[in-house]
């Protein structure tokens, strides 16, 4: 019995779409789960009613709407509502794909650094471009905190610039690492159950109760993490956008 906790992250091409340069562009299992996430979000947001007294599906859609809207308002102010579609798309995409990924035998899109990095860079460039477009050179005041004595200002500015450019790294690695680690841990503990059972027989199956209980507990923890990481990604996006909207703090 071979337990490979990494196997779940494999990208399997389902069919080839074409070529860009010498890269083969394939529709992969990752693409399939992106499609699933988009489909679930679309069904939730478009197939729910728009009644005065909401039903269950409509309540979920409205709660998602209100949740993201209030997050933006509280972190980036009313002006941040310009980015409501972007942040809502990011939050729902990550949240739904993470939740789908907890189902056994499914694939988790955000367990791949390239995906989270692409999303983080999207946010990074949105902040940079919108910040410069709206505030001009004043945008770069975010690197110059006021109230800092002149002689350590260069050092502080260096740290600020560095942290600004490291934002997409921490933004993407946080989500990626959380999802990856959680899924590996789940797989390892679930694998123990089978391993004990197949190698030790009846005693092993009884002994497997403990890792099984841990797997159940970890699954509920992963449910929390799936939601929480989507929320963290969204709220960090709001905070970064707040810099672009109000660079003077």
């Amino acid at each position: 019995m071979k337990i490979d906790p990494i196997h779940q992250f494999n990208i399997e091409p389902l069919f080839t779409l074409g070529h860009i340069g010498n890269h083969t562009i394939a529709f992969t299992n990752s693409s399939l789960y992106m499609l699933v996430a988009v489909a679930i979000i679309s069904i939730l947001m478009l197939a729910s009613g728009t009644q005065l007294v909401p039903g269950r599906l409509q309540s979920v859609a409205e709660i998602s709407y209100e949740f993201v809207a209030s997050t933006i308002r509280s972190t980036a102010g009313a002006e941040g509502m310009k980015f409501f579609p972007l942040i809502f798309s990011l939050f729902m995409f990550i949240c739904v794909s993470n939740l789908v990924g907890i189902i056994p035998y499914t694939f988790t899109i955000s367990s791949h650094l390239i995906v989270t990095a692409a999303l983080a860079l999207l946010v990074f460039f949105t902040v940079l471009i919108y910040g410069v477009y709206k505030n001009g050179l004043k945008f770069f005041k975010i690197f110059v905190p006021h109230g800092v004595p002149g002689y350590i200002l260069p050092l502080v500015m260096f740290i600020e610039v560095l942290s600004f450019f490291l934002r997409p790294v921490s933004h993407s690695v946080r989500l990626f690492a959380n999802m990856l680690a959680g899924h590996i841990a789940l797989k390892v503990f679930a694998g123990f159950v089978a391993m004990l059972g197949f190698s030790l027989g009846a005693i092993g199956w009884v002994g497997g109760v403990l890792p099984l209980a841990l797997t159940v507990a970890l699954t509920s923890l992963e449910l929390l993490v799936a939601f929480l990481q989507a929320y963290v990604f969204a709220i960090l996006t709001c905070i970064y956008l707040n810099d672009a909207i109000h660079p003077g703090h």
């Binding site: 990494i6 990208i11 562009i25 979000i41 798309s89 729902m92 390239i114 999207l122």
Partner: protein
């Protein structure tokens, strides 16, 4: 968060070495650069599709539903407030009208009572006068009747005295003497 970060590095690193010796084309799947292009293209397509759906259809739809509900609630509350104000005003008007009616009723009652009292007083006075007049007439009649009766009594007494004297003495008495005697006796 930092906790999960730390946790992430352990298994990831461990898995790396395991996968290196493993069966799958070599390497840790998230770091296999040959899959990057496919993932990026898929992500770009699906995220753009999602963004368009969300911004053009989903958010206006749900936002509209929420706003419609908000408007409906506010409208209903305003309507209720208006109706409440109306009923308050009606109640106030009713109360003031009731008070006015009460004072008017009191005034009418007082007036009619005074009038009735005055009328009764007047009637009583005329009745009393009439009664007094009747009483005076009756007293006069009684006095005259009595006087007549008294004079009759004198005549009868004189006759009776003459008869009695005649029976006792066999002598017819002098009428003048009998009358004088009767008068004296009536006076006494």
């Amino acid at each position: 968060m930092a906790e999960s970060h730390g946790g992430a590095k352990g298994p990831a690193a461990g898995a790396h070495t395991e996968a290196d010796g493993g069966h799958h084309g070599g390497g840790f799947p998230p770091f296999e650069s040959s899959t990057f292009a496919s993932q990026l293209v898929s992500l770009a397509i699906f995220f753009v599709v999602l963004y368009v759906i969300v911004s053009k259809l989903a958010l206006p739809r749900i936002g509209g539903a929420i706003e419609a509900r908000q408007n409906k609630i506010e409208g209903d509350l305003a309507e209720a407030q208006k109706l409440k104000d109306q009923s308050d005003a009606a109640l106030k008007a009713y109360e003031s009208e009731l008070a006015a009616a009460r004072t008017r009723a009191q005034a009418i009652g007082n007036e009619s009572r005074d009038k009735a009292n005055a009328q009764a007083e007047a009637e009583r006075k005329t009745l009393e006068e009439q009664l007094a007049a009747k009483l005076a007439g009756a007293e006069k009649t009684i006095a005259s009747t009595r006087a007549t009766a008294m004079s009759n009594v004198r005549g009868i007494a004189a006759d009776a005295a003459g008869q009695i004297v005649q029976q006792l003495t066999g002598v017819v008495p002098d009428a003048a003497a009998v009358n004088a005697a009767v008068d004296a006796s009536l006076k006494g």
